[in-house]
């Protein structure tokens, strides 16, 4: 069986197959795959016996349920007011510079995607960003470079395996 199909079956076994189980299943696929492909959404529709269009309509409502291919690590830099006041742009520039991509893009090796997001709820420790589900706060360009290098190292290690 296709691994995504299997993942979806397992998620449905775990959460249930009713409409109100849709979000946890979508989240489960994104957790694993980083985004919802056309194939994933079709399989979810099939598994839950829901119209595919409804799955698409629901998924696209939520910013964290990406439906375009994403990198292994999704960097979400907060762009809302306080983070913006406290130097979000410098953070973005630092990341763009380091990963050689623009905001909204994914590195060619498929490891990093750089996105901007709405308020992360760390306004008192601005600027803030998420890398997948890890939160990083009170960022400076130096700090961001440090954080990213640990991820780049991680990536290197996992590539060796």
């Amino acid at each position: 069986m296709n691994p995504v199909t299997e993942l979806i079956k397992n998620l449905a076994d775990q959460h249930g197959r009713s409409r109100h189980n849709l979000l946890p299943i979508l989240q489960g696929v994104v957790e694993q795959e980083k985004y919802l492909s056309e194939f994933s959404m079709t399989e979810i529709a099939r598994e839950l016996d829901l119209p595919a269009a409804e799955v698409y309509g629901t998924a696209t409502f939520y910013s964290f349920l990406e439906h375009k291919k994403m990198g292994k690590y999704i960097i979400r830099v907060c762009k809302t007011i306080t983070c913006s006041m406290k130097g979000k742009n410098q953070i973005i520039l630092a990341i763009e510079d380091m990963l050689k991509i623009n905001a909204g893009e994914t590195t060619p090796d498929g490891n990093f995607s750089l996105l901007q997001t709405n308020c992360l709820g760390f306004c008192h420790k601005a600027p803030a960003m998420l890398i997948n589900n890890e939160i990083y706060t009170e960022l400076t360009p130096e700090k961001v470079r440090e954080i990213l290098s640990t991820y780049l190292k991680k990536k290197g290690e996992s590539n060796d395996n």
Partner: protein, 596 residues
């Protein structure tokens, strides 16, 4: 009985039942509140906010469609605050809308345009958002054109596709300024589960969803002297067309329509009702044959219940949603396609015409018929059986373009050969009509007696109930049908695809045991079709249905097998129902499609 409550609207005190919305209460006292996202066929959305009203004492304004009245409410529908806010909302909708009205197919029949004109929105103060968005037009479907730049996001189409039809081809996607009405992964309507039923078109207030029109192609064909252009008109068109041309809903305009078609320049004007009668002969015989194979021969290949196949929206629906049940479908083509196949064979031969020179046009209350005519298997005459399909609305446009004063036309008759019909053919246009027509003929075929309903009117299959059931007990049949003695023939009728889905589920679960089921994609049957005049509402459907049954009652012949042209075609051309020739020209097969 719950006690009525008292409210006042613009100072007029009115007593109403609790739970009545402000909108309904207002209409009781003759106050019209403008609406856009509201539609009588659909659940309340309350999202366009055009129907806002002021409740005295409240700071917020209230959507009249979505708010039930409460005791003592003082409602103002035209206060300064209401009027200013409503104007703002219309202006906002216009700013997001491609308001290039003179170049719009719906120019003159657009609810947004009407509101803009009523509120005299003369300026364009707000920034025009429409040109700034990357809107696309989906023109790939043979039936439906979807232009997002004209969409006002009222979601009437989505509610139609979901609630009324259970198709779910359309959905709301994204949020905020990106929010839009679209399909799965924004594919073309042609590439998703869309059944082409056109109900979304019928419910769209603007020009965002319209039929793909073939008006110019038909004008070209008419003007081409080398072509012989035949036209057929579906049963439901005659009770709808008048609405587009100045008549009240429910006016029968059969004779005027024929006259208008002749004036437009069609070489022959004939009637789909004729092939409706023919369908009854073929389908009725098919049903009886199936019954025999199941009950007597115990042939496991043959499936019951048998389902009708006249409605192309229903056909595409079952192909997507219940492909494992395709062998339950009657193999009969729809009357439109039977007509098409005969026009380029039987008719061509009788009139001594080269079929290649024949252009076959049909006037349908339906947009799915456009898709049906384009199906690759519909070439049994050796040519494309039906070349162009026009909706009732498109025909009205042509009549207006031609400068025909429709109201003043004298009635005319259809041309011979395929122009004669019976009341049974006419009622195909209403939900339950195919069933009623089939029973009138099949019962008589089996027993030699008329169907045991007063005046041939089979009341249980009539009316607007979503799923209707009827049964007819067969007693003392003719000798060759002896195996049917005592059999209670169980029938069901479903209209609106959401109801069709329910019946199919009950068959799948085994909870229903029918012999024969009529399925129609559109609410009310073809008279409520996606190609019918806009607006269509429950009341209007009711009036059209009354007109159909009146037409039936007024006819000399009311049973398909009595139609002299039907008798003639079997004698001269087809031989007998389910003959080899019939099989070749009048029957078809179906295709499994993806549900997801």
């Amino acid at each position: 009985m719950t006690k009525n409550i008292k409210i006042s609207i613009n100072g007029v005190v009115v007593e109403i039942e609790p739970g009545t919305t402000i909108l309904d209460a207002a209409s009781k006292v003759g106050v019209i509140i403008p609406t856009l996202c509201y539609h009588k066929d659909l659940c309340v959305a309350g999202n366009c906010r055009v129907c806002i009203t002021e409740i005295v004492g409240q700071k917020r304004l209230t959507a009249a469609c979505a708010t039930p009245c409460e005791e003592g409410m003082e409602i103002l529908t035209n206060s300064l605050r209401v009027r200013n806010s409503r104007k703002h909302i219309i202006e906002l909708l216009l700013s997001e809308h491609n308001a290039d009205c003179t170049r719009c197919y719906k120019n003159g029949n657009c609810e947004l345009q009407f509101l803009a004109s009523e509120y005299k929105i003369m300026t364009q103060d707000f920034i025009r958002l429409a040109p700034l968005k990357k809107y696309s037009i989906d023109m790939y479907s043979p039936s439906i054109v979807k232009d997002d730049s004209k969409c006002i996001r009222c979601q009437r189409c989505v509610r139609t596709c979901v609630e009324l039809q259970g198709v779910n081809a359309l959905t709301v996607a994204h949020k905020g300024d990106q929010m839009k009405i679209t399909t799965f992964f924004e594919k073309s309507m042609n590439d998703v589960v869309c059944t082409n039923c056109g109900q979304c078109i019928n419910h769209c207030p603007t020009g965002a969803l319209v039929e793909k029109n073939y008006i110019e192609e038909v004008w070209d064909a008419i003007a081409d002297k080398t072509k012989h252009v035949v036209v057929q008109t579906a049963p439901a068109v005659r009770v709808g067309l008048g609405e587009e041309l100045g008549f009240e809903a429910g006016t029968r305009v059969t004779g005027k329509m024929v006259a208008a078609l002749k004036r437009l320049g069609f070489d022959a004007v004939m009637d789909t009702d004729f092939t409706a009668d023919l369908t009854i002969m073929e389908e009725g015989t098919e049903l009886l044959t199936r019954l025999k194979k199941v009950l007597v021969d115990h042939d496991e290949e043959v499936k019951l219940p048998m389902a009708t196949s006249c409605s192309p929206g229903w056909i595409k629906y079952i192909e997507h949603m219940f492909p494992d049940y395709l062998n339950h479908l009657s193999t009969c083509k729809s009357p439109q396609q039977m007509f098409g196949a005969l026009a380029k064979t039987y008719y061509a031969k009788a009139r001594n015409l080269d079929p290649e020179k024949i252009i076959s046009v049909s006037i349908m209350p339906c947009t799915a018929k456009k898709f049906e005519a384009a199906r690759p298997e519909m070439h049994d005459s050796g040519y494309r059986d039906v070349d162009y399909v026009l909706t009732t609305r498109e025909l009205a446009i042509m009549i207006k373009q031609a400068g025909i004063d429709f109201m003043k036309l004298d009635d005319m008759h259809y041309d011979r050969l395929m122009g004669e019909s019976t009341g049974a053919g006419v009622i195909f246009g209403a939900t339950g009509g195919v069933m009623e027509a089939a029973l009138r003929t099949a019962y008589e075929l089996v027993t030699g007696r008329e169907v045991p309903f007063e005046n041939l009117n089979i009341a249980p299959v009539r009316g607007m109930e979503g799923v209707k059931e009827a049964s007819v007990k067969i007693e003392n049949p003719l000798k060759e049908w002896a195996f049917l003695d005592g059999v209670e023939l169980k029938c069901a009728v479903a209209h609106g695809l959401v109801n069709a889905g329910k019946v199919m589920e009950s068959i799948r679960s085994g909870s229903a045991s029918y012999h024969f089921i009529e399925f129609m994609a559109c609410p009310g049957g073809c008279l409520g079709g996606g190609g019918q005049p806009i607006p269509t509402s429950p009341e209007i459907r009711q009036k059209r249905a009354e007109a159909i049954y009146a037409e039936d009652e007024g006819m000399q012949l009311r049973k398909s097998h009595q139609n002299p042209e039907i008798i003639k075609i079997y004698k001269d051309f087809l031989d007998h129902p389910l003959s080899e020739k019939s099989h070749h020209l009048l029957h078809t097969h179906y295709k499994t499609r993806e549900r997801f």
